[in-house]
């Protein structure tokens, strides 16, 4: 699966390869957003705690 992603990033690809690569890229973006949001939440909670201590 990662092979398709790498290939489509460096050279032209089409059909199933493009579809799989696009799908993986989209999922990665979604998961990174979730992780990013988690870290933002933890940072805000830390700030909230420190602001009132």
């Amino acid at each position: 699966m990662w092979g398709e992603v790498r290939k489509c990033r460096t050279e032209a690809c089409s059909g199933p390869e493009k579809k799989v690569a696009g799908y993986i890229d989209r999922m990665n973006r979604t998961y990174l957003k979730v992780l990013g949001f988690l870290f933002v939440q933890l940072a805000l909670l830390w700030w909230l705690q420190q602001a009132f201590l």
């Binding site: 999922m27 998961y31 979730v34 988690l38 939440q41 909670l45 830390w46 909230l48 009132f52």
Partner: protein, 581 residues
Amino acid sequence: MHPIDWGVLAVLLAWIVWDGVKRKRDTTGIEGYFLANRRIPWWAAGLSVMATQLSAITMIGTTGQGYVDGLRFVQFYFGLPLAMLILSVTLVPLFYNSGVYTAYEYLERRFDAKTRSFTSLLFLLSRGMSVGAVVAAPAVVLSLVFGLPLTATALLITLPAVVYTMVGGVEAVQWTDVKTMALIVTGVFVMIGVAVLGLPEGMGVTDGLSVAAAAGRMRVFDFSFDLTNPYTFWSGTLAAVFLFCSYFGTDQSQVQRYLTARSVSEARSSLLMSAYWKIPLQLLVLLLGVLVFAFYTFNPAPMIFSTRAEQLVAESSAAGTYAALNGEYEAVFHVRRQAAEQLVRARSTGDPAAEQTARAELLARDREVTEIRGRAQAAVREATGEGSFNDVNYIIPSFILNELPVGLAGLLVVAIMLAATSTIAGELNSLATASVIDFYRRWARPVGSDAHYLTVARIATGLWGLFACAVAVWAAELGSLIEVVNRFGSFFYGSILGVFILAFGVPRATGTGAFVGLFAGMGAVAWTASFTPVAFLWHNVTGAVVVVVVGMLVSIVTPGAPRGERSAHARTHADVSIHSG
């Protein structure tokens, strides 16, 4: 309650039941009844996932915990987004694409019938018992709010759920959950508004939070690595991942919610909604408790928030001691209020030294108040014989009834009731699904018409509803046993997760390996719980790890069917013979 509040309660309950019952038109077959014909939008499925997990215990217990202990409990949810990511990649596409009705159905395809039936049985046992506890905890509190007997209150909470779940199936459950979530979130914001507006003139949210912080209620993070403490950063981010993976990935009450989505992508999105919003929602609920604490620092608060408990003590031989304790409480309460006012003044004048002094004074006086409240609760326990009495669950209902205007109080009581109702409905529906699909259709009648299975599904929902009512009344009478029943599930969660890890991640794992591993995991958890002080969250890690290790070892020495080979009896809704009746 005021007659207007009763009116609000009656109208909202009738609306919820009517709205659920009318979904009957879409449930003409078991796919409609159990999976809503897979046409629920992702956001509704996501809200349903959140509503099923958010029970009345959250509304009254977690807010009360915020009042007593502050924001610390939010750490418990730090692992939830990570668990959701893991499930989105692993089990969600697996379940959705295999077209199963229950998570356990997949285990027969991968392993064998005994592993499927046993894990499904464990689900039925633990969920069947916990559905009673879900009713019992709020029923004890709401019976005092309503002035009704405990049995009548338990029935008032359970019957609406039984009616609309039995008639409308999972679609009724999920659309009711959407409304319930809207009502609960609105209710929490309303209560926060009332708590803030009730602070003395000139004081705002930050003043209230400063007062709460000085009393230790704003501490979120605890980085100590203490296996006996369930609420630390490490238990929340490491051990809780196992719990949430198990709950959202292998518990039918949750799996069924996202199996109703339109596609695997939407099923993922519905789970990821919790990944984004669970921590903020839980923080909001805890903040409500913290702000109610600030409110009751400046406004008169009873020593014990249960008027019934106070009455019972007043009628007992401990009445004199209790009255003396109350006098002591009022004196310290007054001094704590002065310290809080001093702190707010020091903050507004920007005097750090005065602020520091006021903080120390407030913390010391708050500890005294807590200590006196502890003694008062001990007096109640002694006078009433209720060994587990604690007024944490009475704080928010007391705030609602005494501080909210007529009408709004009714709305908030309905929100608490519906939080219980929606959880019960989700559990009844999943219990009926597992009973019919994993047992009735698997063992008793493998071939039958769609109409026949639909009738059996409705009967199963009704029977589980009756069972829930009976367990609720029994559990409520037993008091402290509610907690025991609640912890019953934690014995199995980690071990069941271990079986699914073997199924998904270990190609060499065999049915015998998984089955033996499951028993070994449960045994390890039972031993850990009985003979070590390790906190319950870590039991999930113990169970999962032992199942995987033992399962792998047993798989090496036992021959098994290669992965992918289907058992002769394994069938899904796609290939079972259904004769439309």
